[in-house]
């Protein structure tokens, strides 16, 4: 286990930490600080003890602003902001909230904000949020106020694809994987569980589906957008024309072309070992190598136990864009470990030799050194982990 010490937020500054791992859980948020060696960790938390925190993100454009998506069992959803790395927090003045009913569609209420994405590097203060039920929101003032994007939230076609709350995942249907193309602030992607993958090239005013090649549950029509359930979509920083996706029905890669008919997802998960399968939630891409990506399979058979297959957790990596996969389990429990990893709870840093990070449904935080070759536990006994992000501090 890595060395971990507890400290007060005020002493974090003295530690001159360079990296921070942001852990969002069912019962609050924790920040783990370290330096580039990533050997020793200083824990700062809990923040918002007892609140359900879906996601915590650092603004990479200033290296110090944090946003946290929160709710409690009884109270409605909100967003908290910190401009000093969590020493103090302020609530958003206008959290994500749907508009009044329109287009003859029933009005909806945000149950929780699920996903936070900083906007383009050229647009300081811009953020996107995805919610449950599915909704897309934008802030242009660093998360103080949020506005709904009507071309998604109030569009009859999108609403049909979204279905009702009962059509979604057990803890609510979600809009997730909001991606901003690093080359173009107006080029956006998102995924919906359920409801497919979509992209906009005009900043969110109009959208096109991106589901060719994606499979659906047996017996259903793959041409029907609502049946598509992307779990996590990632764009490769090293090649923004390449995306990877972990889906309810497998692992996929998409290499964009200049013609819509050529934009076809390929099921690269068919090369995974049959006894493990290619079902899971997280998808992680290498910061500098578009051929390298990681997944963390789970048991998607029978009633969908959503545990590690056979109680033996492992990440899998491809280093050739999905032609082959290798198991990465050194240091992880070799038996009777029935946890798994949610879609936002696995990530990678951008250090010279990247490390992976994952948080488990059993409240454990792990680091996978040398790109996942060797796993070490950072923390145990946290609440169920919903999201893990890593960022380099300014």
């Amino acid at each position: 286990m890595s060395r971990t010490t507890a400290t007060s937020p005020a002493s974090i500054k003295k530690a001159a930490a360079r990296l921070v791992v942001l852990v969002a859980t069912r019962k609050g948020a924790w920040l783990f600080h370290s330096d580039g060696k990533r050997k020793a960790w200083t824990v700062d938390g809990p923040h918002f003890l007892g609140h359900t925190i879906s996601h915590v993100m650092l603004d990479p454009r200033d290296g110090r602003t944090l946003l946290a998506a929160a709710r409690t069992g009884h109270l409605g959803p909100t967003v908290f902001r910190s401009t000093n790395l969590g020493r103090s927090w302020k609530e958003a003045q206008q959290p994500p909230a749907f508009a009044a009913a329109s287009n003859g569609l029933p009005g909806r209420s945000v149950d929780h904000t699920f996903w936070l994405t900083p906007g383009h590097a050229s647009e300081p203060g811009s953020w996107y949020a995805g919610t449950s039920p599915q909704g897309l929101f934008r802030s242009i003032d660093a998360g103080v106020t949020w506005a709904p994007l009507p071309a998604v939230n109030d569009d009859p076609q999108f609403r049909e694809w979204m279905g009702s709350a009962q059509d979604g995942t057990p803890d609510g249907p979600k809009l997730h994987s909001v991606i901003v193309d690093p080359r173009d602030p107006k080029h956006l992607y998102f995924g919906m569980s359920g409801g497919g993958v979509h992209e906009s090239r005009d900043g969110g005013q109009s959208w096109a589906t991106l589901i060719q090649g994606m499979e659906v549950v047996e017996g259903f029509d793959a041409a029907t957008v609502t049946f598509h359930d992307p779990h996590c979509v990632r764009l490769c920083p090293a090649n923004p024309d390449r995306l990877y996706q972990q889906n309810h029905c497998g692992i996929y890669r998409l290499d964009r072309t200049d013609r819509p008919s050529g934009d076809v997802w390929h099921r690269i998960g068919r090369k995974m070992p049959k006894r493990v399968g290619d079902i899971g939630f997280p998808m992680v891409v290498h910061p500098r190598d578009a051929d390298t990506a990681w997944v963390f399979p789970m048991d998607g058979t029978d009633v969908w136990p959503r545990t590690s297959p056979a109680g033996q957790p492992a990440a899998y990596v491809t280093r050739n864009a999905g032609k082959t996969w290798q198991r990465l389990d050194q240091g992880l429990p070799d038996s009777q470990a029935w946890w798994t990893v949610k879609r936002q709870a696995m990530t990678v840093d951008a250090q010279a030799k990247p490390a992976l990070y994952l948080g488990t449904t059993g409240g454990e935080l792990w680091i996978g050194r040398d790109e996942g070759a060797s796993w070490t536990n950072i923390a145990r006994h946290l609440p169920e982990i919903y999201a893990v992000e890593v960022a380099e501090l300014a």
Partner: protein, 85 residues
Amino acid sequence: MKILIPGALRSYTGESHVDAEGDTLDQLFADLDRRYPGLRFRVVDEQGQLRPNMRIFVNGLGVRDLRQALKPDDFVAVVLALSGG
């Protein structure tokens, strides 16, 4: 009128009993939000509905309709529903 605030909302009010005004529950929450910004949205959703698992009692009687009329000497209790034991 006097309002009883549950513990989960005292990060907004700082105290368990506060004063606010309104001829209806909706107006009362609007006034509470002016005094304690952000409080209303934690209790009432964007479609004007009381959130699930939140309960309101006016003089001891449970109410869910925010159009409920109020008098200046009413006592309003905002309560987290007792759910799950």
